[in-house]
């Protein structure tokens, strides 16, 4: 069966928060047949004619307000590339993305000017990286990191910034008395929770979480997952959760995209993907679950 057979294109719903079509990122100079000669059927994302690398291609989906979408796949499948393109950490090769609160969803945000992109990043999105060093400034205090995000989103009043920072640290179970310490002196789990506090500081409608529990030990992992679930339920933030870990996907997400060699091979409700996978690769992935 083909991928996306239960796709969301049942008529034109107009209540999506984020709409992504044909998102593509290729490293190197692609040839005319690069997309034809790569992908899961070829078991490779390297073009045999040009050696260009297809990090992701033709990725399309709709995300609804408050919905949690999972992207699962092995290392190098392109799952992180998708969120990096949407958070403007990388330049797309092709594709479009519309975000409802940006120009009422009428302008392709990937084509926006640098200034507009900064506005979107600072006001409408948050991201949590696998490595806290990518999301936090280790020369600032933990409170300073949150303040940085708030200032970029337009807050200028020092008192209210400090108040909001301590509220967020409390919410993410980071001891507020350690607000003035730098993240370098924190444990890995605590660093991750400061990163989450920073990412949600501006109350974004959309949050990206890229392998946020990878490398944490089980009890710390459970605490971070619990925090994410609680924030999702309380604040109704829509999320895209990237993980190679199917238990994380099962616990957090409503729907899932399965990626391999840069392409989406299957998409569906998360319980359906896990219990009735259609694509050979997903069947292999699910049957490898411990």
């Amino acid at each position: 069966m083909s991928a996306g057979q239960n796709g969301s294109d049942h008529g034109n719903h107009h209540n999506w928060l984020l709409r992504v079509r044909n998102l593509t990122k290729i490293y190197g100079e692609p040839g005319e047949r690069t997309l034809e000669l790569t992908g899961p059927e070829y078991n490779s994302n390297i073009c045999p004619e040009t050696d260009s690398i297809v990090a992701c291609a033709g990725v399309s989906f709709d995300l609804y307000p408050g919905e949690v979408l999972g992207i699962v796949g092995e290392s190098g499948s392109g799952k992180s590339t998708v969120v990096k393109l949407l958070y403007f950490d990388m330049e797309k090769t092709a594709g479009s993305a519309w975000l409802r609160p940006y120009n009422d969803g009428r302008a392709n945000m990937l084509e926006a000017s640098g200034q507009q992109k900064r506005y979107i990043r600072n006001h409408l999105m948050g991201t949590v990286y696998q490595n806290p060093r990518d999301g936090l400034n280790f020369s600032f205090s933990s409170g300073g990191n949150i303040a940085e995000k708030l200032i970029m989103a337009g807050s200028l009043h020092v008192g209210s910034i400090r108040e909001r920072a301590s509220f967020l640290l409390e919410k993410t179970e980071v001891p507020v008395r350690r607000m003035d310490d730098t993240p370098a002196s924190f444990s890995g789990g605590m660093q991750q929770r400061v990163q989450i506090a920073k990412a949600i500081a501006n109350n974004p409608p959309l949050l990206f979480l890229d392998e946020v529990t990878t490398g944490l030990d089980v009890s710390v992992q459970a605490k971070v997952l619990d925090l994410i679930r609680e924030l999702q339920q309380e604040l109704g933030i829509a999320m895209i959760v990237v993980s190679h870990d199917l238990s994380v996907i099962r616990m957090l997400t409503d729907r899932t995209l399965v990626m391999k060699h840069g392409r989406v091979v299957e998409s569906g409700l998360t319980d359906q993907i896990l219990q009735d996978p259609q694509h050979a690769y997903t069947q292999l992935l699910v049957s490898s679950l411990l």
Binding site: N6, H10, A222, D276
Partner: protein
């Protein structure tokens, strides 16, 4: 009035990792569920009971046929377009998510626990999605756990360490708290003593009084006698006979 009509439903699994082996779990299934009706689904292990239930919940993608669900209004644009009728086989993922949040509830045989979430919050969660009032949801959860006889000492504990029967009661409470219109429930009384069985049976019958339709898998004659308005019996993926209980 029917809430569900199943027509010529079939399900075949294609196992690509076993040389594309085909396994057919359901053949040509036809039945309807009326509003406020409780149907007992019986049959030996492997006869297709859970597969049928999972097709209705869309955890399994049916291979053929249709499952018409007469929605009360949820189900988004698709349902609205078709006068409230949604084919659960073909509906979009978003339509299914909307129905699961508001009208259709599935209760599996085993509780899938969520780490670090207390028994009360596990039970209250479905209600907090529709009722924004968290305290109200928690107090309703407490009422249910009390009726089900779960020791109060366990209410704030994490269910992962609970016994089978305790987990089952939490699972049932979680399934009924938001009063779904359609309840799909798998072996709700399997690991319970008779007194607790009676409580679960009573709670499901209360839901029926409020108009909920129920499809209930059970091997337990005691439960089926007291609960089911009629039974569907599955054998090798086909419905072999339907019995109407006189209650």
């Amino acid at each position: 009035m029917n809430i569900v009509e199943v027509n010529q439903l079939s399900k075949t699994f294609e196992l690509h990792i076993l040389h594309d082996k085909m396994i057919t779990a359901l053949h040509d299934i036809e039945f309807a569920i009326a509003e406020g009706e409780i149907i007992g689904l019986t049959g030996k292990s492997g006869s297709g009971k859970s597969s049928l239930m999972k097709c209705l919940y869309r955890t399994y993608l049916a291979t053929g046929g249709e499952i018409l669900y007469y929605s009360r209004g949820a189900g988004g644009a698709g349902a609205a377009r078709n006068g409230g009728v949604v084919d659960l086989v073909k509906a979009s993922d978003h339509e299914i998510i909307a129905l699961r949040r508001s009208e259709i509830r599935y209760c599996s045989q085993f509780l899938s626990v969520i780490p670090r979430v207390s028994a009360i919050d596990v039970v209250a969660e479905p209600l907090t999605r529709t009722e924004k009032n968290r305290d109200l949801a928690r107090s309703r959860a407490k009422d249910l756990l009390e009726v089900l006889g779960l020791p109060t000492a366990l209410w704030d504990a994490f269910p992962v360490t609970f016994s089978g029967g305790e987990q089952q009661r939490i699972n049932v409470a979680r399934a009924i708290i938001a009063k779904p219109r359609l309840l799909l429930i798998d072996e709700p009384t399997a690991s319970l003593d008779t007194r607790t069985k009676d409580v679960v049976i009573g709670l499901i019958r209360d839901l029926k009084q409020e108009g909920t339709s129920v499809l209930c898998i059970s091997h337990d004659e005691y439960t089926l006698e007291r609960l089911a308005d009629r039974r569907l019996h599955l054998h090798s993926g086909r419905i072999t006979h339907a019995i109407t209980e006189s209650i």
